[in-house]
Symmetry: C3
């Protein structure tokens, strides 16, 4: 597979909670981290997603927010991966932020340049990658 | 809280409509405007979202479309905030558009540069910020 | 209608599968291609979406992933439109990719510049535009 998603994480399905149209899938990553994905029930069947299954979680960089200071707030976004800023690529409108997680995974976020400046993002500072469950695409070996 | 979302709006929960996995949350903004968010039921519980609760609605600029002329069409996107273009930052691929709402709030949208040119976007012109309910992240004071 | 979505496709509703809050809408495009959209039940009612109805499917370029080689993997994303790369606009952070489909439609994807380089995207190469059902906004004539 060669795909443009900047974030492709290997994990294992922990649980599948079915709804009428969509299901919530809990995924364990190395190092005790977790990701929650919402996918259609058709995908659950087609990909054979059940507990224990090896799975790839794909998240577009544009779906990821960067939380520089989460004190005093609780967010509805199910996915929050805490790490350290390890890279910044600045453009006139957009900035790509790389956050390295304790397990060595890198999460990439594309945010506006103005947000990057307003938050004072710099390599070495702590930051949390935040994304919603419906932003996650799941993949399995064919 | 310091977060990269360009759009962070203070509002009040008006109603919560539960589904099997997700709930729809109606939020009132100052000036009679409304936002609809879809979040997981787990978030409803965790954030204690009930009618009357103060809440922050976060929307990434990349989730927002700009409607320059909505005549002759009805869209499925639940959120449509009408205002006036108050700023444009142009890049080679992306353009950031700021739309000021009647209540003074600013909504930011990141769109393609080509779309910006094709629509003839200019400060002072009317425009509507359009985004889907699942694009909204909710936050409450911890 | 004048809207910033780079992808606006004319199609016909084939089926509507209702859930508690959202419904899945199957849409036929010219040339035998299909799109699946997830929209709220309120939108189904408001837009009068039923089988046979003419509909526009709108997808932001930032919601589209580019799959350069899909061998060995199955993805949960419901929408996969196969075509040929017909244009690339490179920026420092983002790249806009145009993929021309067999029916003549063009799909635009905004991806990170680094992903574009890593995948070796070039005009003339085959590529698949991938996007999730909740990324699709539907429109009907008013």
């Amino acid at each position: 597979m060669k795909i443009s998603a900047r974030n492709v994480f290997d994990g294992t399905v922990e649980a599948v909670k079915p709804g009428a149209i969509n299901s919530e899938v809990d995924i364990a990553l190395p190092g005790g981290m977790k990701i929650v994905a919402t996918v259609t029930n058709d995908s659950i069947t087609e990909l054979g997603l059940t507990a224990g299954k090896a799975v790839k979680a794909l998240i577009k960089a544009s779906s990821v927010l960067v939380l520089a200071d989460g004190s005093g707030v609780k967010l509805s976004a199910r996915n929050r991966l805490e790490g350290t800023i390890s890279g910044l690529i600045e453009g006139p409108v957009s900035t790509e932020v790389a956050i390295t997680l304790p397990n060595g995974y890198k999460v990439y976020a594309t945010i506006t340049h103005e947000a990057s400046v307003a938050l004072g993002l710099k390599p070495g500072l702590p930051a949390t990658a935040v994304f919603k469950a419906p932003s996650v695409i799941l993949g399995v070996s064919a």
